[in-house]
């Protein structure tokens, strides 16, 4: 698994690297691969599952819903950015395969993102500040927030890890999220 991540990170994408190259990178004979996975698809899906399983755990542990709204944006962005940096190879894999992967991989990633969006909408619903917003609109807002955070992680992964440019990226994302929540303050959910 690690060999596959290294190859995808340093060149091309998952469909462009062969079983034999992964085995070579892992220092093992090609046939040894079959001791661990049915085929390359199974490996790819496992990598995606692992990424999101631990992401869900991190976000769950953070218990964001029980925090004061003030400062939540900055804290969440920093938590997330830190986690992305700590799992650079896994996230690079997911970002590349989100649109370029097999149908099964794309669906797996999409479903996980929908789960995150739902969880965020449920968390937001617990704040008094958002009591005037309908359920549907909370989902629309959560969707925008999740997309903004995804874009942030794509950018963090795009810059050299030793480069301190990350701070500028985080500041921009924070600004964008604060802008969104300013809009939410003025938002009125109209019944259809």
């Amino acid at each position: 698994m690690h060999a596959a991540l290294e190859l995808v990170s340093s060149e091309a994408n998952f469909s462009a690297i062969s079983l034999r190259r992964i085995a070579r990178q892992a220092g093992v004979v090609p046939t040894a691969f079959y001791r661990h996975f049915e085929d390359l698809d199974a490996l790819g899906l496992t990598l995606i599952e692992d990424t999101f399983r631990s992401l869900r755990q991190i976000l769950g542990d953070a218990a964001l819903a029980s925090m004061p709204l003030k400062g939540l944006v900055r804290y969440s962005v920093e938590l997330f950015a830190h986690y992305v940096r700590d799992n650079r190879l896994l996230f690079q894999f997911v970002v590349k395969e989100r649109f370029a992967g097999t149908v099964a991989m794309r669906e797996a990633i999409h479903n996980e993102i929908v789960l995150l969006t739902n969880a965020l909408a449920a968390d937001l619903a617990r704040f008094d500040e958002f009591s005037h917003i309908s359920q549907d609109d909370l989902r629309v807002i959560s969707d925008l927030v999740v997309n903004t955070v995804i874009t942030l992680s794509e950018r963090i992964l795009d810059v050299d890890p030793d480069n301190a440019e990350d701070d500028a990226l985080m500041l921009r994302a924070e600004k964008q999220l604060r802008l969104i929540f300013m809009g939410v303050g003025r938002w009125e959910s109209r019944s259809a």
Copy 2:
């Protein structure tokens, strides 16, 4: 070029399809490929250039900056969604290669998106409503808007073209953009 787009659209991504498959799809012998392109990289870059050249033209012709702000969001979203649908194969290609393509392709796409963001920031600067926003902040806002529109097009490309689900996607994107501009109304650019 069309054969390559068809293959990328119907399966996998550009790095996963071979020169021979493209030639076969085009009804031509593999060596005929070299009459038109140096190699596959050159073909990929040409497809990206074509996509953005005509997108820039469409957006330029629309002269959005000279329109009243009211109704601009809806009009822009509809214009863009229409264009994406009309160029489904090209956009599917770009979406897949934005992160999974070669370094040259990724950079080409990234640069084009930066150009679009700059153009939007310049357009926004012409509205009196945004005169209280700094240049930097206009870029941050444009960035958020562009990302939201990119996400919309990714979603339009993901649903079946005969399916009328597009309307729901467009409504959501419109809501998100209006939310952003509500935030802009309350935004105050602080000098550092």
